[in-house]
């Protein structure tokens, strides 16, 4: 396990390094001069020079990258071009909401998707299977932002059960009510994917000899399914969990826009509009970092659940 852990840590570091290079490189090749964008076209040449030095634009890209990286690992992501606040504090103020939304949606996707897939698999070839597959198909074709809008339409505008958007702050009741509809919208496509995968992997496991043995011993269908079959079927799901969380982080950027939630996504979209590059840079690094971290965790769980993986 130690060797496996070591390999995964190295893998994580390499990934983070690649991400940092990619983000820095893309935002370095941009057309136009950031100093000029800050000051406007008819700026005083002396002020222009000073801004160039302040933004580090007078030095070569590699040295700028190293300096930026050295500051980034200490949590200093630079300053916003327009809000005159450190990027890290802008991100810190919004990260909690995005994390809560993502976690909420992951939970929903799991508790809806897995039973749905198990239900379809155990009713294989019958009406229940058809219904399950139909639900999966519906979940797969609904864009999450549109699902969100339909939810607002029904539960906020028609029924007045939940707020149509906005975030009242971290009081227990208000926060849950504000995050419920966005989390449902966000989880729908992922629940569908999980349902489909659970069904497929369970159908395969149910053909295994050990399931036949368990049945032959006289164990009830329930015990065979939940104690023997589902456990092994779920191992396959762990591998996609990382990918799923990555999609959830990305999806939350869109969903935050639909529900006017002050999270990381809204920050990025706004920053793009203002071409506030340090903010975009920082937010993408943080999002990518989160995703890489979750993937790392998933790898560890996978190695724990399936010992064969450790020796590959």
């Amino acid at each position: 396990m130690t060797a496996y852990l070591g390999r995964r840590v190295v893998g994580l570091l390499v990934t983070l390094f690649l991400i940092s290079i990619a983000v820095f490189a893309v935002l370095t090749v941009i057309p136009g001069d950031p100093a000029q964008m800050v000051l406007g076209a008819d700026a005083d040449p002396a002020a222009y020079q000073a801004t160039r030095v302040r933004l580090g634009l007078d030095r070569p890209a590699v040295s700028r990258y190293l300096a930026w990286l050295a500051r980034a690992v200490r949590g200093d992501l630079g300053r916003s071009l327009y809000q005159d606040r450190p990027v890290s504090s802008l991100i810190g103020a919004r990260l909690g909401l995005t994390c809560a939304l993502t976690a909420f949606a992951t939970l929903l996707a799991l508790i809806v998707g897995i039973p749905l897939g198990a239900f379809a698999a155990t009713h294989h070839g019958r009406t229940g299977d058809l219904v399950g597959r139909l639900l999966v198909q519906v979940g797969m074709i609904l864009p999450e932002f549109w699902a969100g809008i339909l939810l607002v339409l029904v539960f906020s505008i028609l029924l007045h059960w939940f707020p149509a958007g906005g975030f009242p702050g971290w009081s227990a009741g208000g926060a849950v009510a504000a995050l419920l509809l966005p989390a449902v919208a966000l989880s729908l496509p992922r629940a569908a994917v999980l349902g489909r995968m659970t069904r497929a992997s369970l159908l395969e496991v149910l053909e295994e000899p050990y399931v036949a043995v368990a049945r032959a011993k006289g164990l009830s269908g329930f015990v065979v399914l939940y104690k023997h079959a589902l456990k092994n079927a779920l191992i396959a799901l762990v591998t996609v969990l990382g990918l799923l969380v990555a999609q959830l982080v990305a999806g939350s950027i869109i969903i935050e826009s639909v529900f006017y939630l002050p999270g990381l996504g809204r920050l990025v979209v706004q920053a793009i509009g203002e071409r506030d590059l340090p903010v975009v840079q920082g937010a993408i690094i943080v999002a990518a970092f989160l995703i890489a971290l979750v993937n790392f965790g998933v790898d560890l769980i996978y190695g724990f659940l399936d010992p064969r993986v450790r020796y590959r």
């Binding site: 549109w146 505008i157 639909v258 590059l277």
Partner: protein, 290 residues
């Protein structure tokens, strides 16, 4: 079972055909100019003058839906066209020659796959500005890995096959083996992948244009139409419902067509584990994280 499978092929094919027709017609005719505003009749419900109603600026929803079909579908088609060519070439190099080329490529593929399209697009768009071309680039790059993996996996299982050895023994060079002997064996997989990727690309375009990162106003794309209608949801929901319905229907069409094609080409697994889109194909058993 056989009949049901053909149903998804027929139904999916019909939707895709209808979409293509809609785009074709929109090139020559839309009921109203898609960007013409008519403030007097804004947020009008569906009626005989405006079949699908109007939006908050009094623009005809059907006409905008037709223009949106052009924009959204051309992004999807171009992105997938690029990704299929580049992805196939990369996958061929990796799967056929193996070695360090394979290692490097698979690391790249894992990296891009772990990086969601939206983040990639935001990066590209932050650098080069919003617009149809840049969101297209982002979607295209994000779509390359699925083709590269598919082709690599299939080639790994085929490159030692008897017909390849026979061709080589007969004096065929690498290029000839790849182009004449191996490529035809890939084409059915590729066709399925192209169909499914079109759906995924359409979904990505919808999300990006919802965020305002795709087609710029006043032009229409399906995602942007939903966004523009969001603010007026309490007054009139129709302008939000129709474009969303269009996106969902189009993706359904591509998904069904892809499923139907797959079952047509690969009757073996058709019955048992139907609907498992990521069922490992021959040789692609390697997971994204080794």
């Amino acid at each position: 079972m056989r009949r049901r499978l053909d149903a998804s092929l027929t139904f999916g094919g019909a939707i895709v055909f209808a979409l293509a027709l809609l785009v074709l017609v929109s090139l020559f005719y839309t009921p109203y100019p898609p960007t013409r505003q008519d403030i007097a009749s804004r947020l009008a419900p569906p009626s005989s003058t405006h079949l699908l109603g109007t939006d908050h600026l009094g623009r005809d929803t059907l006409s905008r839906l037709m223009e949106g079909a052009q924009n959204s579908l051309s992004v999807a088609v171009l992105a997938v066209a690029f990704a299929s060519v580049v992805g196939t070439a990369l996958g061929m190099i990796a799967g056929y020659f193996g070695g360090w080329a394979d290692e490097v490529l698979m690391r790249f593929v894992d990296f891009v796959m772990g990086f969601p399209v939206v983040l990639l697009a935001i990066l590209v768009i932050a650098a080069f500005g919003p617009g149809l071309r840049n969101s297209l680039i982002a979607i295209a790059v994000a779509t390359v890995p699925s083709f590269a993996r598919l082709v690599r996996g299939t080639l790994l299982s085929l490159r030692e096959a008897d017909f390849v050895l026979a061709a080589r023994a007969g004096g065929a060079g690498n290029l000839r083996v790849l182009a004449v002997h191996l490529f035809p064996n890939l084409s059915s997989y590729l066709l399925v992948q192209v169909t499914i990727s079109l759906g995924t690309a359409l979904l990505a375009d919808a999300g990006l244009s919802y965020l305002g990162l795709g087609v710029q106003p006043p032009h229409a794309s399906w995602g942007r139409m939903v966004y523009e209608a969001r603010g007026f949801l309490a007054l009139d929901a129709w302008p939000a419902i129709f474009p969303g319905l269009a996106i969902a229907t189009a993706i359904l069409g591509f998904n069904l067509l892809g499923d139907g094609l797959r079952d047509r080409f690969d009757p073996r697994g058709a019955g048992r584990v139907r609907g498992t889109r990521r069922r490992p194909r021959p040789g692609s058993s390697r997971s994204s994280r080794g």
